[in-house]
């Protein structure tokens, strides 16, 4: 295998794209690639979230920590996050995280004047930067009573450090299934048996063609790899009636975003972060030093 190139050129096909939802196919690559993308989306795409809360007055029924925790979990629009600095390596403020390059300041003032419970939501949160505002939610806060006055500093961070910085609600992929129905063997079954095979799957993968009364694959991707059909077929004494394989190199991704960044942007950012990470490996001195050890791999990493 000396000299063989493992380079592949993955293809992406977008199926569905909404602000907070994306569904796409990723083909001609490995699980490692797909999973790296997923992991980066969850844990390493930076966003902005409230990190420091200074409470002036809090006479609500909820205590300071409770409110601070809830504030932290409010998703903020984070298009700027990629270009912002981490407060820990911000030169402008020596890392105290209070400058415009690495932080955004918020203010929350709420006072309940009547004897009703007052709903305080993210709408009451005033940002000093119009690009970083709370994602529009109908209801985020809980009912407080009385008086609140607080200053909050939002900073850039990644999901690895705290889940509040994770831009992803769900990121998941599945292997594209390949389903073979042994038609000959299927013909030997009665309609009842066919129905029972079809219905053994909890999702609508198979169907019976009303005209030909043949078992057909209705929706391949509805299959959840739950093996129910295979077990059923086995139990009927007809192994091989249905065979299902997972394609090793094509994945169907589902990405849902919290709203901090758009779902499409989330994917792009993830690729960006992934690139940066690879660059970091490629350019680090350790890699050069380890050239002897890894030879080919090191060169490959450096693009040679």
């Amino acid at each position: 295998m000396e000299g063989a190139s493992y380079q592949r050129f993955p293809k992406v096909k977008i199926r569905e794209l909404k602000d907070d939802y994306a569904k796409f196919e990723l083909r001609e690559t490995d699980a490692s690639m797909a999973n790296a993308l997923r992991r980066v989306m969850i844990a390493e795409v930076p966003t902005i979230a409230i990190d420091l809360v200074e409470i002036e007055v809090n006479s609500s029924v909820l205590n300071d920590e409770f409110i601070a925790h809830r504030l932290g979990l409010i998703p903020l629009t984070s298009e700027r996050a990629m270009s912002m600095r981490f407060s820990r390596d911000c030169d402008a403020c020596d890392g105290d995280g209070q400058c415009e390059f690495c932080s955004v300041e918020f203010h929350l003032r709420a006072k309940c004047i009547n004897d009703q419970t007052l709903d305080v939501t993210s709408k009451d949160l005033y940002s000093s930067d119009h690009t970083v505002v709370p994602v529009d939610f109908s209801d985020t806060g809980a009912g407080f009573e009385n008086n609140e006055d607080q200053r909050a500093i939002a900073r850039k961070g990644i999901g690895k450090d705290h889940a509040k910085w994770s831009p992803a609600a769900t990121v998941t992929f599945m292997y594209e299934p390949e389903i073979h129905v042994n038609e000959e063997m299927m013909e030997t079954l009665s309609l009842e048996e066919k129905t029972s095979v079809v219905e053994s799957s909890p999702t609508k993968v198979f169907g019976i063609n009303p005209h030909t009364q043949q078992v057909e694959v209705v929706d391949r991707e509805a299959y959840t790899y739950d093996d129910e059909v295979l077990k059923k077929v086995e139990a009927m004494g007809k192994p091989g009636l249905v065979e299902i394989y997972a394609k090793e190199d094509s994945f169907i991704f589902t990405v849902e975003s919290t709203g901090a960044v758009k779902a499409s942007q989330l994917v792009l950012n993830a690729i960006e972060v992934l690139k940066q990470k690879l660059d970091a490996v490629r350019l680090s001195e350790d890699t050069v030093e380890a050239d002897d050890q890894f030879g080919e791999l090191g060169a490959h990493m450096r693009g040679g």
Partner: protein, 1226 residues
């Protein structure tokens, strides 16, 4: 059976259980014969049951037994205690030196009506003069915040007479007496006096909260007391029922009539006589124990009670005289009587015989024999003839027991037991303290009865503090007066109300306890008994020494209170005849009627009698309500008090014993009762349908009735509605007379809310109900701002479980409206404490071995299982105003001074930290010092820290001002914290894994918790899997929601629901490895499961030190965690190092790092040389080791020894034992 009696059909008992209820006829409805059960829909009836149970809990709540018993005590019990005192006669001291000129004076005191007002504050002169009220309402929250006792003042009417006595001779013909004592009343006083404070049960009729619209806390149902700021509750005491005839087979055959009073106890027993030649020899005779007199021949007592002949006695006994055994015993008994007392049949000979015995006894009674018998032998039965009959009945029981025709009574049977609650217990304790107060009063009054002194006001003698403090001390220390031993105290009657969560609080108040002398004597008491069914939970009992002795009331169990109305009229009208007061009438063949163990009458046809009685009870003709008039007669509370309509359902219980031809009726307190549906009256449900479905309506219409333990034996109860419809061979649904409301109501509160409890191993259910549910962090109260608990926990985001059980469903109450955006209210699931976590059963890199679990750190970041913990610190100073002391220099005061012992940065000038201050370990929480500057501040221990939540300044009624500072700590779960599911599956957090590393499903779901599959096979808790699978179905929008024990869903229903939702039937999921992205080979079981966070947290348990404080005596490290102590390196650990041969390590561990020390030894005399200061020639003084024995400092060398060894040497030396040390160089 005789022909007499009502002439309707008498069904023959055909071998099977005889159901006399069948004979009940329907008169008030147009339907002539009871409609068949088949007219009803099973589902309709099920829904009805649900509704009925909901209304049951709405009507009674969960702690009605506590409040009802207390209310009964307030209404009647207190008065009884004072009435039982009777007239107190104070005799003068008869001290001749004090006699003087006047006559000896006597005093008599009688107590009258007791009044109790609602708890009130006296505001003090300051306020009352200022146009304010003199008294303010004293609410439970005041008591809690001020560490006071929530109590109300008790006043009693008394009549005091002071008189002189004179012996007057009089005309015998006129007065009947030759001389009598003439009372010359000198002085009479009649008024009310304050006699003490009675602790008030929260939410009882006396409590303000019973009137309040809104409780302090939404979860609080009352039923407890507040004593010096601490909440205390009674544990129901299981006692053997008195007032019933007890047949016992060992050590010898005896039949007992028990009573608390020793004098009133009666027992009849069979004893062996020594061999006598002429009468067969070794025969057994019946003797009787009365009035503390042993072994009186039974025949003598019969004749003393006025029986005329032997024949009459035999007729009274009414035993089967065809049986040779019985005849022999009777003949031997007659013979025995003849030998003991000649001619006892004549006149009053037998009575005189008893009289003489009494007079010879150790403590001869003051009364005459006749009075003795009247008052002490079966005191509830009036008339000698009836007493003789009762005695005859006892003898009959004895003979039947002996010949095997009657079963020996089982003391573990619940029908023989009564639960003592607040009423009985307080009555007992109050009696003790009242006696004490009375004694003190008599003593001090005696002194003032000397002729030359004057009697003072009653307050002077009657010390109210005795009762107030006595009761309060009994509550605080928990030592309660013993039920029958005079001077002894019992423990375990009062318990602290624990408030980790609302479930624990209620469970604490539903606990019962059986006192045993010592563990060996418990016998079968620890085992569950069939009679516990529906009354006592079979599962929830603690493990260990109290196993089976402490039990919990079942879900629908109630405890009866005394029914005080007289039953006799109703009994007579039902067909009973009064028991005649003679000894000659023949009553054989008739059924005896007992009320509370006393034989009151006979009836010819017990079946019709019982049926009629039941019918009337169901139609509410039997007393069920303490009449208001009677109430006013006894105790009237302060006039501002309003009575709630107090409806007591028919708590009278009737049992027909066909075998012994007895009918037993009970209306005493302490019986555990439970509601059952009356199958026969099902048709009335339809008439009810329109409106009223309150539980009272159901009771009034006889659809539901309360069944006690004894009556239950007569009922054929279907466990569930479905058994009424189940018809197959060997199962006849028509035999059922009653039906349970729900199958799970046989379980207690904490068991009944466990999903699928019937699928779990009983031990695991016990763990959950007894341990985990009580340790779960939940939402303890809704009024934390006005409480000062030393330690309280609260979960940030408590959730309700996805499933429901019938019990939890019926207990749910409408809660607060949720925000303004959502309409309606969400019910309060206050008995569940935890969160629904997505749980996968998987090995997660082995980090969940041995019952540990892996958690998702992202979930924790988002707030899962986050909790706050509030600890309060209290400091007291003397109240200067109250104590009236001058401001001296050494008076301690709150305030800030520069302290040497800790940081005071967060303190304000008043000595208290500001709200929100972050206090670290070692900081001062409360600054306290004297004027002179000595520091009395309270410092945080090294384990304690937190943010200041609140600062409360308050004062109690004992002249102390105190301050409480609460520190709050927010804790997210961390490694080592304990969690548990609802199935006794506990585990500690073993690893926090980040979200991306968890395996994920197709939907992108990652588990919150991963538990190890090894947790299941040996623990046998499939319930958890069912819960998980069901929860998954519910979360996906399924409609099957109930997981009630015993009536839980079938597996098919659960699997189908999952299948319909598009998931694998068995709850398995295909997962993708989060690290590699590959498909995980095996399917993984995953679903939402209710998990509880338990209070055991690693932060409270970590113990570490390198160096730190040592014990002053031994100089070894201390052990205490709070004092920064070390962990013991014990014997076993030592053995381990020895086995390893790690001697250097061992030396370091046990010597260098422990109490290494030096000692000097004189090599000449081999004794220890101490370091002393001595003068040397030349006038100098030097300090150094010196051997006193050899008088030299030569050859003194220094050795390293453990300080413990040196200490031992010195201690032995002080005892005169000198140790010698051989030393060698090494």
């Amino acid at each position: 059976m005789e022909e007499a009696g009502p002439s309707y059909k008498e069904k023959p008992s055909n071998g099977a259980v005889h159901v006399d209820l069948d004979e009940e006829y329907d008169d008030d409805d147009d339907m002539m014969d009871a409609p068949s059960i088949r007219d009803f829909d099973e589902v309709f009836l099920k829904n009805f049951c649900r509704k009925a149970s909901t209304s049951f809990f709405k009507h009674y709540g969960l702690i009605s037994h506590q409040t009802n018993s207390y209310n009964d005590f307030i209404k009647v019990g207190i008065q009884n205690v004072f009435d039982s005192i009777g007239e107190i006669i104070v005799e003068p001291g008869y001290d001749p030196s004090k006699k003087g000129d006047n006559e000896w004076r006597y005093a008599s005191i009688k107590f009258g009506k007791v009044t109790l007002e609602r708890p009130r504050f006296w505001t003090g002169e300051k306020f009352s003069t200022d146009n304010g009220k003199e008294y303010l309402e004293f609410l439970p929250r005041h008591a809690r915040l001020q560490n006071m006792t929530y109590s109300s003042r008790m006043r009693v009417q008394f009549t005091k007479q002071v008189y002189t006595q004179e012996l007057v001779r009089s005309d015998k013909f006129k007065t009947g007496k030759e001389k009598y004592l003439d009372k010359k009343i000198v002085e009479t006083e009649e008024r009310e006096v304050f006699i003490g404070r009675i602790p008030v049960m929260v939410n009882s009729d006396t409590c303000w909260m019973s009137l309040a619209e809104k409780d302090d806390c939404d979860y609080d149902q009352g039923g407890y007391f507040i004593i010096k700021g601490a909440e205390k509750t009674f544990i129901a005491q299981e006692q053997l029922g008195l007032n019933r005839v007890w047949v016992a087979g060992s050590p010898n055959w005896r039949v007992q009539y028990r009573s608390v009073h020793k004098r009133k106890r009666v027992y009849v027993k069979l004893v062996d006589t020594p061999k006598v030649d002429d009468i067969g020899g070794g025969a057994q005779v019946i003797t009787v124990y009365i009035l503390s007199l042993m072994d009186i021949p039974i025949w003598i007592l019969f004749f003393a009670l006025g029986v005329a002949s032997d024949k009459e006695v035999v007729d009274l006994i009414d035993a089967d005289i065809k049986d040779g055994n019985i005849v022999n015993i009777l003949i031997a008994s007659i013979h025995d009587a003849d030998q003991t007392c000649d001619e006892f049949r004549k006149g009053w000979n037998s009575l005189n015989f008893v009289d003489q015995l009494l007079k010879k006894s150790k403590f001869p009674p003051k009364e005459s024999v006749k009075e003795c018998i009247e008052n002490y032998l079966f005191p509830n039965i009036i008339g000698f003839g009836r007493k003789a009959r009762y005695l005859g009945y006892m003898v009959k029981c004895l003979l039947e027991g002996y010949t095997g025709r009657r079963k020996v009574d089982n003391k573990d049977d619940f029908r023989n037991k009564r639960l003592e609650l607040a009423g009985e217990l307080l009555e007992r304790e109050l009696k003790v303290h009242l006696r004490h107060a009375e004694m003190r009063m008599v003593k001090s009054m005696q002194r003032d009865l000397y002729p030359d002194r004057n009697l003072q006001a009653m307050e002077h003698y009657l010390d109210a503090a005795i009762i107030t403090n006595g009761l309060s001390r009994a509550f605080s220390t928990g030592s309660w007066s013993h039920s029958y031993k005079n001077m002894e105290k019992t423990s375990g009657v009062v318990a602290m109300l624990r408030r980790a969560n609302p479930l624990q609080m209620i469970a604490d108040m539903r606990r019962t306890r059986q006192q045993v002398l010592y563990a060996g004597k418990a016998g079968d008491a620890r085992y569950p008994h069939p009679s516990h069914w529906g009354k006592i939970c079979f599962l929830s009992t603690p493990d260990g020494e109290n196993c089976g002795l402490i039990k919990n009331l079942a879900g629908t169990a109630l405890v009866s209170t005394t029914v005080r109305e007289r039953l006799s009229d109703i009994l007579l009208s039902c067909g009973m005849e009064k028991l005649v007061d003679d000894t000659s009438t023949l009553l054989s063949g008739l059924d005896k009627v007992f009320v509370d163990g006393d034989w009151v009458g006979i009836c010819k046809n017990s079946a019709s009698f019982v049926a009629e009685f039941r019918r009337r009870r169901r139609r509410k003709e039997v007393p069920h309500q303490v009449s208001f008039l009677q109430l006013l007669e006894t105790v009237s509370l302060a006039c501002d008090m309003q009575y709630h309509a107090c409806f007591y359902p028919s708590q009278v219980e009737i049992k027909r014993d066909t075998k012994h031809k007895e009918v037993r009726i009970f209306c005493d307190a302490g019986r555990v009762m439970r509601p059952l549906l009356v199958v026969q009256n099902f048709h009335k449900i339809k008439t009810l349908k329109g409106g009223g479905c309150s539980f009272q309506d159901l009771l009034d219409n006889g659809v539901v009735e309360l069944i006690g333990p004894e009556e239950e034996e007569d009922c054929v109860t279907a466990w569930d509605i479905k058994y009424l419809f189940l018809e197959n061979d060997g199962h006849d649904p028509s035999k059922y007379t009653h039906c349970e409301l729900d199958m799970s109501f046989m379980l207690g509160l904490s068991c009944g809310i466990i999903p699928f409890a019937n699928h779990d191993h009983a031990k695991r259910v016990l763990f959950q109900s007894q341990k985990h549910s009580q340790q779960a962090v939940g939402y303890s109260c809704t009024n934390p701002d006005i409480r000062l608990d030393t330690l309280s926990h609260q979960l940030f985001y408590p959730q309700r479980p996805l499933f429901k059980t019938v019990l939890s469903d019926c207990l749910e109450k409408p809660g607060q409206p949720f925000g303004q955006s959502v309409k309606g209210t969400i019910p309060r699931p206050e008995f569940f404490n935890g969160q629904c976590a997505i749980v996968a059963v998987n090995v997660h890199l082995g980090y969940n071995q041995e019952d540990s679990l892996v958690m998702n750190s992202a979930s924790l970041d988002r707030g899962m299982f986050r909790s706050e913990h509030i600890r309060s610190y209290k400091a007291e100073v003397d109240n200067k105003e109250a104590s009236g002391k001058k401001n001296s220099d050494d008076a301690v005061n709150f305030g800030k001074i520069q302290s040497k012992i800790g940081r005071v940065d967060s303190l304000d000038d008043d000595g208290f930290p500001f709200i929100g201050a972050n206090l670290q370990s070692g900081d001062i929480v409360i600054g306290k010092h004297t004027e002179s500057g000595s520091d009395h501040s309270i410092k945080l221990k090294h384990t304690e820290r937190g943010m200041v939540q609140k600062v409360v300044l308050s004062a109690n009624d004992e002249g102390k001002n105190f301050a409480v500072v609460s520190l709050r700590q927010v804790r997210s779960p961390c490694l080592g914290d304990k969690f548990s599911s609802m199935h006794g599956q506990k585990g500690v957090l073993g690893y926090l894994e980040s979200q991306e590393n968890f395996p994920f499903t197709l939907q992108g779901i990652v588990p919150d918790i991963v538990i190890n599959p090894h947790a299941f096979p040996s623990r046998q808790t499939p319930g958890q899997m069912l819960e998980s699978a069901l929860g998954k179905g519910i979360a996906l929008g399924g409609s099957q929601r109930y997981a009630t024990p015993f009536s839980s869903l079938s597996i098919d229903a659960i699997t189908d629901q999952l299948h319909r939702a598009g998931f694998s039937r068995w709850g398995n999921e295909r997962l993708y490895d989060g690290r590699t992205g590959e498909i995980v080979k095996s399917l993984v079981f995953m679903g939402p499961t209710f998990y509880q966070r338990l209070v055991h947290m690693s932060e409270d348990k970590v113990k570490f030190r390198n160096t730190g404080p040592v014990h002053p005596l031994t100089r070894q490290p201390v052990a205490d965690r709070k004092r920064f102590g070390g962990i013991k390196f014990g014997e076993m650990e030592r053995d381990c190092l020895i086995a390893h041969g790690a001697s250097a390590n061992l030396h370091e561990r046990l010597f260098t790092l422990s109490d290494c020390s030096e000692m000097h030894v004189c090599q000449k005399c081999k004794r220890m040389a101490s370091v002393i200061q001595r003068s040397v020639p030349g006038g100098q003084k030097i300090r150094g080791p010196y051997c006193r024995i050899c008088d030299s400092m030569e050859d003194v060398i220094k050795v390293n020894v453990p300080y413990g060894a040196k200490l031992l040497t010195q201690e032995l030396f002080s005892m005169g034992i000198s140790l010698k040390f051989d030393t060698e160089l090494c």
